[in-house]
């Protein structure tokens, strides 16, 4: 597996981007020619209740686009509509209204599926098949020629690290292994657009690292990747842009650092002090103590005077770092705001 | 294919298909009738065995067999086929499965002893089968 490389953000793709907060909804104007996925006012209602008279809206008026070659992350709490959107794109469910296009073809056009790869949430495959047989099955479905099939299947198995398990029936696979064979199945036919639904779910750190690496490789190869996750650190690390969906509505779209704002909120000082506490009392009371170490937040303006005082009292400064609002805080702010307004109803579509 | 064309195509397939099925059925019926002058068969004649096989559903099986008696006699009657040899075994099985099926005894009493074409001309019934005439006497 190649080592982790920081994602390269192509700024030319965000020429008209604006920093967005949770309340305003400014759409990115990515030019049509380079959009791999375009979604326009996509809505999905689920009828329920007696005689199906009541409606649950699991997705409301989603409009966004994903540029060619971009890695786009769908973020949102459970039941927000991420899986619904992905299932709509892939043709497993049908929209109540609105349209979407992948690589210029409408989502109702099944021949478009030749250019997309899909990993379902919590994938499950025919458990009586072995890994090699499953990939061979999909290879045949995708109409790969016979000679190419064997090579491709072998290559994929190696890529996801399942080479040694190729002859084992899938019923004996662990969750992580199933996830990996799922990824293999999604990229087997070298699609231009790869759509992954919670690709890291249920994986241990090793598995997650491997999936992250695969996504980065796809990006390097120029593929467009759309994936949904609720692990924010993965999104921060991998995505060119993220879209935050809460309660069926898109709340914000933009590059991760754009969304949260670049402004630092202060500095964090980490220092060690073993002397008498009376000297540095004002600081120590504001600091969090772990043994001999103290962690304290100060504003930028007060930073140098603080450092001088600490040094003068004999404390050892260990580190000084910027404190930035993280995606997690932005996320929680949105979710809590939503929950305060409406009762939490998770829609799983079941 | 647009929604309207695919819907139209579906309706066409369903209607034409069912119409075809209807017509075919007529042809098949004619064919089967022609080949059906065969002897009807009652392979399982042992009432006791059938009763065992029916587990706790013997009365239900009796009802089914009674239906067969009626259909058998009716069909023979319509076709004016005087050969109703199977009437006695059918009735025998029916009454073994459910000895309380009075109507079977009535029917048997009426049609078994008569000579063809109305009845089976069955000697045993004419001679007064012990079980049957015994129950008829009770009635």
């Amino acid at each position: 597996m190649p080592g982790f490389r920081a994602p390269i953000v192509p700024f030319h793709a965000h020429k008209s981007s604006l920093a967005i907060d949770g309340r305003s909804l400014v759409l990115k104007n990515v030019s049509m020619a380079t959009a791999a996925i375009e979604i326009e006012k996509l809505t999905k209602d689920y009828p329920f209740g007696f005689l199906h008279l009541k409606k649950k809206t699991s997705l409301e008026g989603l409009s966004m686009s994903v540029a060619d070659g971009e890695v786009f992350g769908f973020l949102g709490p459970n039941g927000a509509g991420k899986t619904t959107t992905i299932k709509l794109l892939v043709g497993l469910i049908f929209p109540t209204s609105g349209t979407a296009r992948i690589l210029g073809n409408s989502i109702s056009d099944i021949s478009m599926h030749a250019d997309i790869g899909y990993l379902p949430e919590q994938p499950y495959f025919y458990d009586y098949l072995t890994a090699a047989e499953l990939l061979d099955y999909f290879a045949r479905i995708h109409d790969l020629p016979a000679q190419e099939r064997k090579a491709r299947v072998g290559g994929m198995l190696k890529k996801v690290g399942l080479e040694t398990a190729r002859k084992i029936q899938l019923r004996k696979y662990s969750k992580g292994m199933l996830q990996r064979i799922g990824v293999a199945q999604a990229i087997l036919h070298d699609p231009k657009v790869v759509i992954l639904d919670e690709p890291m779910s249920g994986l241990d750190p090793v598995g997650r690292r491997e999936v992250r690496d695969i996504i980065l490789e796809l990006k390097q190869a120029g593929k467009t990747v759309l994936f949904s996750t609720h692990i924010l650190s993965d999104a921060e690390m991998l995505c060119d842009r993220v879209g935050v969906i809460v309660g069926g509505k898109l709340r914000g779209v933009g590059a991760p650092d754009e969304i949260v704002g670049l402004k630092a909120q202060g500095m964090e000082v980490l220092f060690e002090y073993a002397g008498s506490t009376t000297l540095l009392q004002p600081f120590l009371s504001k600091a969090v103590q772990t043994g001999k170490r103290y962690r304290m937040q100060v504003s930028e303006a007060d930073l140098y005077s603080t450092l001088q005082q600490l040094g003068g009292a004999g404390a050892t400064i260990l580190s000084v770092t910027q404190v930035k609002s993280t995606l997690e805080e932005y996320f929680m702010h949105l979710v809590e705001g939503d929950r305060a307004q409406a009762p939490a109803v998770e829609v799983s579509g079941k | 294919m647009s929604i309207i064309t695919s819907r139209a195509l579906l309706c066409a397939v369903l209607l034409l298909g069912l119409a075809g099925v209807w017509q075919l059925q007529h042809a098949i019926d004619a064919q089967l009738a022609a080949t059906h002058q065969e002897q009807d068969d009652l392979v399982l004649r042992s009432g006791a065995m059938l009763k065992a096989m029916s587990l706790e559903y013997a009365p239900l099986t009796a009802d089914l067999y009674w239906t067969r008696v009626v259909q058998y006699y009716g069909n023979k009657h319509i076709r004016q086929d005087g050969n109703i040899d199977l009437l006695w075994p059918l009735l025998d099985v029916t009454t073994t499965l459910d000895p309380n099926l009075i109507v079977a005894y009535h029917f048997g009493g009426m049609f078994l002893s008569d000579s063809p074409p109305r009845g089976a001309g069955h000697p045993i019934a004419a001679a007064g089968n012990s079980r049957e005439s015994g129950i008829l006497a009770l009635l």
């Binding site: 997309i116 899909y118 919590q122 994938p123 009586y128 109409d143 | -």
Partner: protein, 258 residues
């Protein structure tokens, strides 16, 4: 179409790996026991018993497989979500259905053919008279296969929109109704209203008529079965299966997968 074939072969592979074909062992043992015992318990009708027993067993076992696997063809894949990744490929929904249907029919054909071989072997063992029952028996087996195909189509239809349990009830119900269709046509009674009579008559033609395929009596006595009937029954089965399949495809294509 080609993709339907791929799905069909995989469905067959699934049946094999689910050890469906082990029923053949049970059948073989039954036939062997029967051939050995029949000489002891009856005289003169050995062939008839073997044929009736064999054909009945083929029919019953075939029906069990057709119904119990048929009702799960689609609903199992939807429950287990194995279908999700597959439908994201260029496979069309009707191609998938056709593949599942074809795969189960293929399984049943292999199963029935194997049982027919067993039946013929048993016949060879007990053969008394010079009666040629092989021809009619072969036709009877073929008719059983046609009947099973129709049952699979019905099970597939129900599998597309309802639970396995209900599918079993509906399919079994239609099968049983289909056996009494001729009687339904002959129901004529002065106590019945015209409307009811017409309804019964229509039902008797529209419901699948499984009595068409019942030639066990003829086969048991070695009576030849007319070629025209073979052609007609084949056409009937094909036509009815097409109607049922079209309905199933229409339902499944519009279905939102949870």
């Amino acid at each position: 179409m080609r993709r339907a074939g791929i799905v069909a072969l995989n469905t067959f592979r699934e049946a094999v790996r689910d050890r469906v074909l082990y029923n053949l062992v049970f059948f073989a043992l039954t036939m062997i026991a029967a051939s050995i015992l029949v000489g002891q318990v009856s005289i003169g009708i050995e062939e008839m018993v073997i044929v009736t027993l064999g054909l009945s067993a083929i029919s019953v076992i075939g029906l069990l497989i057709a119904v119990f696997i048929g009702v799960g063809l689609v609903s199992r894949e939807m429950d287990k979500r194995t279908l999700y990744a597959l439908l994201a490929t260029p496979v069309r929904r009707w191609e998938f259905l056709l593949g599942k249907f074809g795969g189960l029919v293929l399984t049943l054909t292999v199963n029935t053919a194997a049982m027919a071989v067993g039946l013929f072997l048993a016949l060879k063992l007990v053969k008394q008279s010079g009666q040629h029952v092989e021809g009619p028996v072969l036709v009877a087996v073929y008719f059983i296969l046609l009947k099973l195909g129709l049952v699979v189509a019905l099970a597939l239809l129900f599998s597309c929109f309802t639970t396995p349990l209900l599918s079993i009830l509906y399919t079994a119900g239609l099968y049983i109704a289909g056996l009494f269709v001729t009687d339904m046509r002959n129901f004529q009674s002065d106590t019945m209203s015209r409307a009811l009579q017409t309804l019964l008559r229509w039902l008797s033609y529209l419901l699948p008529n499984f009595q068409n395929f019942d030639v066990m009596a003829a086969a048991a006595h070695g009576r030849a079965i007319p070629g025209l009937l073979i052609a007609q029954n084949t056409a009937y089965a094909v036509l009815y299966c097409t109607v049922v399949f079209a309905a199933a495809a229409a339902i499944f294509t519009k279905r939102n997968l949870k």
